[in-house]
């Protein structure tokens, strides 16, 4: 009886939990490679375009092939200006520099691939009326060595207020980044520069992706900081608006004479500044960056809708976007 019982359980569990996985042939379309264009245009700068080839999703090839013999025609305001010159690794460059409001058009041909084209309009520069910053210490952790206090870590919130004026006649798209630039004393009368983009939290704008994790019963409670925010003027069309955002920063201070007992070296910062870059970006660039960010942030799987990364290359893939920056430099040390 026990044997029968065990046998039945084995059979049942095999049947209930059996699922067959098999490799199948792809029977759809779009198996041939396409031209891929990546280009971001900004006024008063040369235009660069990276041209490569896409690959079929079942291709076992590693990396991507650059297209080094493409014919990249540049039109500005519908007037042919030049063919972009090939430099290296699929990179093409112009001699012309576009201006604000220019309509940039690429027409690209490459042997064996469908011709592609794309258009983007260089947006206006955003108007920044004022910029302000405050620092609030959040915590101080003292470093002890026996009875002695030998130094401390101090962390805090560096808050920014950027007042902008939105142009009412258009729907505007913005991108906000924050860069930290520091000059650091390397000793022996030498310095080096350190520069990187800081993650920060922009108040009042979406800080999480729409995708949820498995059994995400808490909803979107966790606020993530991001390296860039892409926003529309939906909330402030035609008005003045204050963007409030916060970055977290810290510093280490060692009491003189205790350097050798402190595990980490002190921050020997000579000067420190934060560069707030508010960009007006084209709608294409906005949609591309937003969808790319979402595609990178979601948990792929059967419970999440796949993300279509925005593409504005007709007959091809990629992005021709444009942006105009307005930078504010805030010195903190």
């Amino acid at each position: 009886m026990k044997t029968l019982h065990n046998f039945l359980i084995a059979v049942l569990s095999t049947l209930i939990f059996y699922s067959c996985v098999k490799v199948i042939e792809f029977n759809g379309e779009q198996t041939e490679p396409m031209i891929v264009v990546n280009s971001f245009v900004t006024p008063d700068s040369l235009i660069y375009a990276q041209i490569s080839k896409s690959k079929f999703f079942l291709s076992n090839k590693t990396g991507f092939d650059y297209i080094n013999n493409a014919d990249v025609s540049l039109y500005i305001n519908n007037i042919f200006k030049e063919k972009l010159a090939f430099t290296t690794d699929g990179l093409y460059t112009s001699t012309q520099k576009p201006g604000i409001g220019d309509t940039i058009r690429f027409y690209i041909t490459a042997t064996g691939l469908d011709d592609v084209e794309s258009v983007s309009i260089v947006p206006d520069q955003p108007v920044i009326l004022s910029a302000d910053t405050t620092f609030k210490i959040s915590y101080t952790n003292y470093q002890m060595d026996g009875e002695d206090t030998i130094g401390y870590y101090q962390g805090g919130e560096l808050s920014f207020k950027i007042k902008l004026k939105d142009e009412s006649s258009l729907q505007n798209y913005y991108r906000l980044t924050l860069k930290k630039h520091a000059v650091i004393d390397a000793g022996e009368s030498t310095t080096y520069e350190d520069e990187f983009y800081l993650p920060f939290i922009l108040e009042g704008f979406e800080n999480t992706n729409t995708g949820g994790g498995l059994f995400d019963f808490f909803g979107n409670m966790i606020v993530d900081s991001k390296n860039q925010y892409m926003i529309t003027d939906e909330l402030f069309n035609g008005k003045e608006f204050v963007l409030r955002f916060t970055a977290f920063t810290s510093k280490r201070v060692i009491k003189p004479g205790y350097e050798d007992r402190f595990y980490y070296s002190s921050d020997n910062i000579v000067s420190e500044e934060y560069i707030v870059n508010l960009q007006g970006i084209s709608k294409d660039m906005y949609l591309y960056l937003k969808s790319k960010e979402m595609a990178e942030g979601i948990m792929n799987g059967v419970f999440t809708e796949p993300v279509q990364i925005y593409n504005n290359i007709s007959n091809g893939i990629g992005i021709l976007g444009s942006y105009t920056s307005n930078r504010v430099v805030i010195k903190t040390r």
């Binding site: 359980i9 049942l12 209930i16 699922s19 067959c20 996985v21 098999k22 490799v23 199948i24 792809f26 029977n27 759809g28 379309e29 779009q30 198996t31 891929v36 990546n38 971001f40 900004t42 990276q50 490569s52 896409s54 690959k55 079929f56 999703f57 079942l58 291709s59 076992n60 590693t62 991507f64 980044t177 860069k179 990187f196 983009y197 992706n209 729409t210 949820g212 994790g213 019963f217 808490f218 909803g219 979107n220 860039q228 960009q279 960056l289 790319k292 595609a295 948990m299 419970f303 999440t304 809708e305 796949p306 993300v307 279509q308 990364i309 593409n311 893939i317 990629g318 942006y323 920056s325």
Partner: protein, 821 residues
């Protein structure tokens, strides 16, 4: 609305006084069981007028005085005739005798609600015996899976009870159990439906041309009626299968006055799987005193009591309740751990508990009252609720006894999540048959909805003999309350011999969070009779839906959540047009061809990247609104009587979506196929009764594969300006469009055999079923896969990419035993 009612009353009054008519009324029941027979046909050969019994078995037929030749017929029963001279209002109660002799069961005049002579189209009645005989997964007869075999109805993923009717979504189906909505019709991730066929008397599926009495969903109405119970003697049925066991008992409490019917079902995979769980999972946890139990099961219970006060008054109490339960319990106890150093003795225990349960309760009280022989009333008070409840907790206790003192430590952690929907309903429906050419139905319905969008509760307690800490947190959206009121009126009008129409109007009023939505929905269904066996029909139905289901498309999850329309998310609307031809072949086979076009507005779809597992918080931000349309042709040949029964159905259809409203674009604002858009669907269902001891049934289905979204090209991302440039060589996926890829076609054959034998007190039946008899690997999911393979003789690897198809159910034989007395 008022004008329409006045017009109807005036018209009916004129009709009343223009000739001398008398009314024949009564109830139609099964002779053996006393069960009322829904949609039985009553037809006067002389006047060529007829009607059908309503869902309570009541009929009323008003005819001119004079010689009457009435034919009463019902599928599967011997026809009965009554000839008499009608000189006054007459009550005739009919008790039908079951028969399988084709000669005896000719359905005179085809006065079925779905037949040639009815004005109703796009509706199918499936005999419950047919549903029970359709072989299914694990041998579990399933109402929804039987309906999926009808033309115009598509199943979702393999094995699931998801229904996609005429290009609509799975949330656009109104499942009514004795007239009350059931919100979640799934057990076990949708592999079984909540409807236990033993408890069901009648099922009618409406796919279009909806009568005005139905409303609230765009795509279908599944009207399920429960058995009332045998009014003569106690009968029962016990069934034991590999997945579940069922019991059904019915009988009189007071003979021919009060009856009951109780059906219960429970799965026992948890009991069977326990030894495996013990062997597998428990290995890491168990010691001598530890104990781990874990499993999953579902149960459901249908109960109904019916009391007949008189021929004019009946009362019904009905209840459905069912739950799915997943549980894990772990206990461990350590005792007498002696520490020699401080001469202490420690006793400790720990417990962990996880429980998820979800399910429905549907209960109602109904009062049938025959106000007079022309006017029949049904008043209902009902409660329906779906709730999902999840809890995970742990507790640990320890007591340490020292020579001169005792210390204790207690900690407890609990996190729970609850969501659901709850309705209280009051409604009154009236059937009024003032004239042979008019059969009027009207009524009103009020529902108070409470939507519980999800609340998370967490509790943390820590206590020792010197301190105590407690933390309680509740997070979640507030309940949303809404009021829904609807009125309807419809008239089934006969105009001469050839023309019949069902004209109606349905009005709904929905009030949620200071928003009010009105909807006036006209309904028209017309029939033109070419001869007694051939008719042509056309219909239009405007529908509106005030609730949305937040759900994943692949499987039904208990976290699927109903939410109301809001200020931002508007009610869904649809307009459906259908035309068709219906032919009855020698009263044996019903043949039909129907074409339809349905436009749908304010549909919701998830945004790219959205996931609906878990919380509904901020759900409006995860969806966008758009439009859709579907069109197709359906062919059906159905044989419901005789030794061989079944149907052949074929559907050609197309379903598309367009989400191009500003800011709400999907697929770049271009048209894309709906998730379950399939070009061809074929289903063949056959049952043959070889003898009283043996019958055989089989189904074969074929359909075009489902759609899915695949990134067909990969490409290099460029460098984004002003970033840390860590993504220079990013590889991105190019998805050319939503649902841009089609799975392989789906086809499957199921076979079932029943071996019956008469025993001393009843009949025993062995059922052997084979699901997916030729073991076809049908696609459930198609996914790209990457494997790393080592290059022989090197330490290098290459990536091998492939496309894999996951199939869930291979050939699955099953066996069950049942005993009926």
């Amino acid at each position: 609305m008022k004008k329409v009612l006045i017009f109807l009353i005036c018209t009916l009054s004129i009709i009343q006084i223009s000739a001398q008519y008398y009314t024949i009324s009564g109830y139609i029941t099964d002779e053996k069981s006393g069960e009322t027979l829904i949609n039985a046909s009553i037809y006067d050969i002389n006047s060529r007028k007829g009607t059908v019994a309503n869902v309570y078995g009541f009929y009323s037929l008003t005819l001119p005085k004079g010689q009457i030749d009435l034919q009463y017929s019902y599928v599967g029963y011997a026809t009965q005739a009554r000839k008499f001279n009608l000189q006054k209002d007459t009550v005739i109660n009919i008790r039908f005798k079951p028969s399988i002799d084709l000669q005896e069961i000719t359905v005179i005049g085809h006065q079925r609600i779905t037949g040639v002579q009815s004005a109703q189209m796009s509706a199918v009645e499936v005999p419950i015996s047919q549903i029970k005989s359709v072989p299914t997964l694990f041998g579990e007869a399933d109402l929804v899976k039987a309906l999926q075999l009808l033309p115009g109805v598509q199943s979702g993923s393999e094995g699931s009870t998801g229904m996609y009717v005429r290009g609509g979504g799975p949330d656009q189906n109104l499942f009514l159990l004795d007239g009350i909505p059931v919100y979640n019709v799934n057990h076990m991730a949708g592999f079984f439906s909540v409807f236990n066929p033993d408890a069901i008397k009648n099922v009618t599926l409406y796919k279009g041309s909806f009568p005005a009495r139905f409303g609230g969903r765009l795509s279908s109405v599944i009207d399920v009626r429960m058995n009332d119970g045998n009014d003569k003697k106690i009968h029962g049925n016990v069934s034991i299968g590999i997945v579940s066991s069922k019991i059904n008992i019915e009988g009189p409490i007071i003979k021919e006055k009060t009856t009951f019917n109780i059906s219960a079902r429970r799965t026992y995979s948890d009991l069977l799987m326990q030894p495996i769980i013990m062997l597998g999972m428990a290995k890491d946890f168990q010691d001598e005193e530890g104990n781990l139990t874990s499993g999953y099961y579902f149960y459901d219970l249908n109960a109904k009591i019916n009391h007949k006060f008189s021929n004019n008054d009946r009362l019904y109490l009905s209840l459905y309740m069912g739950d799915d339960i997943i549980y894990t319990n772990y206990r461990n106890r350590y005792s007498n751990i002696y520490d020699e150093k401080d001469r202490s003795r420690e006793e400790s225990s720990e417990r962990m508990k996880l429980k998820w349960n979800w399910g429905n309760i549907v209960t109602s009280v109904r009062w049938n009252h025959m106000i007079n022989n022309k006017l029949f009333m049904n008043a209902t008070a009902a409660y329906t609720r779906y709730r999902f409840d999840m809890g995970v907790g742990s507790e640990s206790k320890s007591t340490t006894t020292y020579p001169d003192s005792t210390s204790f430590e207690f900690s407890e952690f609990y996190i729970g999540y609850k969501s659901g929907i709850e309705d209280y309903t009051l409604k009154a429906d009236f059937d009024y048959a003032p004239h042979p050419n008019h059969d009027v139905k009207f009524g009103a319905n009020y529902t108070n909805h409470t939507f519980r969008p999800g609340v998370t509760v967490s509790k943390l307690t820590y206590k020792t003999n010197i301190q105590s800490q407690q933390l309680n947190i509740n997070i979640g959206d507030k309940n949303i309350y809404s009021h829904e009121t609807m009125f309807f009126a419809e008239d089934n009008i006969s105009i001469g011999y050839a023309l019949k129409a069902n004209l109606g109007v349905h009005y709904s009023f929905f009030n949620v969070e200071k928003e009010i939505y009105h909807s006036l929905q006209p309904r028209v269904s017309m029939r033109m009779l070419a001869n007694d066996n051939l008719s042509f029909k056309a219909g239009y139905a405007g529908m509106s839906q005030n609730v949305h289901l937040l759900s994943n498309s692949y499987v039904s999850l208990p976290t699927d959540l109903w939410v109301p329309v809001t200020k931002r998310i508007k009610p869904m609307r649809s307009h459906q047009y259908s035309v068709g031809a219906f032919y009855n072949l020698k009263d044996i086979v019903d043949l039909s061809i129907e074409g339809y076009y349905k436009s749908m507005h304010n549909l919701i779809e998830y945004k790219d990247g959205a996931s609906f597992l878990g919380s509904s918080t901020g759900w409006e931000d995860k969806v966008v609104m758009g439009d859709g349309w579907a069109y197709g042709i359906e062919l059906l040949a159905q044989k419901s009587i005789g030794k061989t029964t079944g149907w052949i159905g074929y559907t050609w259809s197309k379903a598309e979506r367009l989400f191009n409203r500003p800011g709400q674009e999907l697929n770049y604002g271009k048209v894309f196929p709906a998730k379950y858009d399939r070009r061809h669907d074929v289903s063949l269902v056959l049952s043959h009764k070889f003898s009283d001891r043996f019958d055989l049934s089989g189904t074969w289905v074929f359909s075009t594969g489902n759609t899915g979204t695949l990134a067909l090209q990969h490409y290099a991302a460029g460098t984004t300006p002003d970033t840390n440039n860590n993504n220079v060589s990013d590889e991105l996926n190019y998805i050319s469009g939503r649902n841009n890829f089609r799975f392989n076609p789906y086809h499957r054959m199921d076979i079932g055999m029943n071996f019956h034998k008469k025993k001393k007190y009843g009949t025993r039946t062995w059922n052997i079923s084979i699901y997916n008899a030729y073991n076809n690997n049908n696609p459930f999911l198609v996914l790209p896969k990457e494997d790393k393979e080592q290059i022989p003789g090197t330490n290098n690897y290459v990536t091998k990419k492939s496309l894999i198809q996951i199939s869930v159910f291979p050939i699955i034989p099953s066996v069950s035993y049942s005993y009926k007395w």
